[in-house]
Symmetry: C2
Subunit: 454 residues, 2 copies
């Protein structure tokens, strides 16, 4: 569909890489959008991608790595010489550095860590030891902290002395610590602007500042920033020692990633995101792991049909309605799953409120079940001219819609309650149960009314 007769951007990129002219590369990339670069890069063989990271100035290479999807960045880093990888990592914010190192295979990460500045490497190991979705795993360690007895002048002098180093920091607040690096206050940059230089910072600071502990989970951090209009919050250990800062935008990014992942999992993409640039066998086997569970569940559900073979061969028209009822119940149930997932993530419903959700769903299920049942029943009646066929189909559809929304609404809560991932398991549980019930309703009702159906 693309009629462009010129070279594609990745072809041009490839030919520049072949010349080895790093200045030409820099100029070429300058002129492209970030998304264009990521797109073009994903079309190149990995050696060429790694070549580009080696040709670019190290700061630009770091920026490029930050813009890539994580799975792509990781496989690229496995191609890079460890020295170069270490240099690029040094230019990245501490939290992204730790994420990348944490995802690399152990040997790969070690080879890079030993080539990093020892202090940075120590820090990266510390950060990588946290789970990625708690404050410790999300925090950055680039922050400024000053002892409580210093003055505004001392702080400003330090700013000027280390201006270049700090220019990489994303300074919104500076922190005040007492002995043992215990967090005792926070200073806003604008307070420093307005105060006389001789003033002690502990007179100026907001004391007993809000903070979170390193084990605070992501959703709590999300709530924190919903509630407080801050750009960052200090992270301490249980003893109150200042460890780092979690920035609002890192929390928001992590929450967005989680919801993306929930979507992917609910559609059967498990074990991390899939990009079409990944090797074929990895892609197909990951998808297959999910599909093979589903096909077994499907066979179990369909075995209900086998039980009623005699009814089915007497009223062959029923075979037309079985897939419709199975599909439609899946649709109704998935709507309820989606609302429950959304309400859970907004904190509007708690996992133990199963009965409340069930009550709310049953009424929706009754209304929609009756409407869908009437539609389908009418179609059956008109098609075969038999009102009893319509009755069987209509009542099965109506009843199974109630079942589907009941299961769909409550299963995510129950899974959450037992600490199992609702995004992953809600779908298969839902469709297996609703299929079984749907087939059972149609075929058992038909068996009971067989005399009027033939």
């Amino acid at each position: 569909m693309h009629q462009d007769s010129e070279h594609q951007p990745w072809e041009e990129l490839e030919s520049i890489v072949d010349t080895g002219d790093s200045q030409k590369l820099d100029v070429f990339l300058e002129e492209m959008d970030s998304s264009e670069i990521v797109w073009a890069l994903s079309r190149l063989p990995e050696e060429d991608q790694s070549q580009i990271l080696q040709m670019l100035p190290v700061e630009d290479a770091a920026e490029l790595v930050e813009a890539l999807p994580e799975s792509q960045a990781v496989s690229l880093f496995q191609e890079l010489p460890p020295d170069r990888a270490a240099d690029i990592l040094s230019e990245m914010p501490s939290n992204e550095r730790a994420d990348l190192l944490g995802t690399l295979q152990e040997e790969g990460a070690e080879a890079i860590l030993v080539r990093m500045d020892p202090e940075e490497a120590y820090e990266a190991r510390q950060l990588a030891s946290y789970p990625p979705d708690v404050a410790g795993g999300l925090m950055i360690t680039e922050f400024l902290a000053y002892e409580a007895h210093l003055t505004v002048g001392d702080v400003l002098e330090d700013f000027q002395a280390y201006a270049e180093e700090y220019s990489d920091y994303d300074i919104q607040y500076t922190y005040v610590v007492s002995e043992g690096y215990i967090l005792s206050g926070v200073l806003r940059l604008r307070d420093l602007l307005l105060a006389p230089r001789t003033r002690r910072i502990d007179e100026l600071m907001i004391s007993q500042p809000l903070h979170v502990e390193d084990a605070t989970p992501l959703h709590k951090l999300g709530e924190f920033f919903d509630w407080h209009d801050f750009l960052g919050v200090p992270v301490t250990d249980a003893a109150g020692r200042l460890l780092g800062v979690v920035r609002r935008h890192d929390v928001e990014e992590a929450l967005a990633d989680r919801s993306e992942n929930d979507y992917l999992k609910s559609q059967g993409i498990v074990g991390g995101e899939e990009l079409r640039t990944m090797p074929l066998l990895r892609r197909s086997s990951r998808r297959l792991s999910w599909l093979s569970i589903n096909i077994v569940l499907n066979m179990i559900a369909a075995s209900i049909i086998a039980v009623y073979q005699d009814t089915l061969s007497s009223v062959i028209a029923l075979a037309v309605f079985l897939p419709i009822i199975s599909d439609m119940s899946g649709c109704s149930g998935n709507q309820a799953v989606a609302v429950s997932m959304r309400e859970l993530s907004l904190g509007l419903v708690k996992p133990f409120e199963v009965l409340r959700v069930w009550g709310k769903e049953i009424s929706v299920g009754l209304i929609n079940g009756i409407v869908l049942g009437l539609l389908l029943g009418l179609a059956a009646w008109i098609w075969k001219g038999n009102p009893f066929l319509g009755l069987v189909v209509a009542s099965a559809m109506a009843l199974n819609t109630v079942v589907a929304v009941s299961i769909g609404g409550t299963v995510p809560l129950l899974l959450k309650y037992i600490n199992f991932d609702p995004a992953l398991a809600s779908g298969p549980i839902l469709t297996t149960i609703t299929d079984m019930c749907g087939f059972f309703f149609v075929l058992s009702f038909a068996t009971m009314m067989l005399a009027w159906l033939i």
Copy 2:
């Protein structure tokens, strides 16, 4: 399942509202997490919720409104006296204020606007006139801009004079404008800190600063912040006049909302998010609008089965496999849809690259189709002891998996190409086509091999 014998938080909240003691209310809410408050609030009748917004100090009420899901905030605002609503809105950031006013029904919004400060109301009307997913709709208008000829001292004096007003601002940068409010530079707060007071700000500023135009769409803003480590970017009109500032975290929030909405739409929750606190008929009719399209599509697909009734009544076992093939093809196709949606949102694939995606999907489809086909075929063979039944089922499953991933992978791109929402339409298109093909493959293959199947 909740064994707590004490009062639920919303019961306590209700009893405090009944006393009308606003101090007690303030203390009670102080002690709760934000998510607890939102949760408890959603359990109260709307009159009580509106009562709470009237009892709280206006700043706290504004914070509470910001923490609520938008649909809840909107329906609550329709309950509030317009005077109070106007007061609360004045305390909110300009972009959230405009969003809320934009979503309120016209009369409701007018009643509030006429009670607001005229300048604020004018601004809110301007902002509400932008679509919510462009820079103009996302920007805030609380920013500081100074004329180019001023000095650092002038700026710092202005800071001190208006310290209280500005303390509500989220000041990261100040902007420098030339005649006609044309953006000419940006000043970082820390540059002001380090410069002598007599210095002119246009000597200090970063000139020709990066900026976006008011019509810049959300995904472009996302790319901008991926690429540039800024906390905000100035927004200008086509003539270069400074209009506002888009903050990184507002962009990230909007992107997260969009992906949430895509998930909801893909599961059949259309027309905005559904909360279980909404009226029953609104919830059921919205869901039904989606379901009734699907049931019609389902009936069309199932009509293929009706065509082959004779084959089906000769080999009734086939009826067991029809729903399995329909379900499994849906699963395989949805995996491909999810990967395409993800790659589209990451910019890793362009809508015109249909052929490339198709090529990538066919190979996955072949591998997985063969595996799933073998599984299902083997089950059929063992169950009925007829290898030809196995062959029919296996080849239909394999072939239809290829069809499903082809449709699933490419339909989102094609929909995007014609500017139709892929989250909304990919699912129904996918399942209708794969159901028809699946039923056709099973039943036509069986018809051809009928002699060996009976």
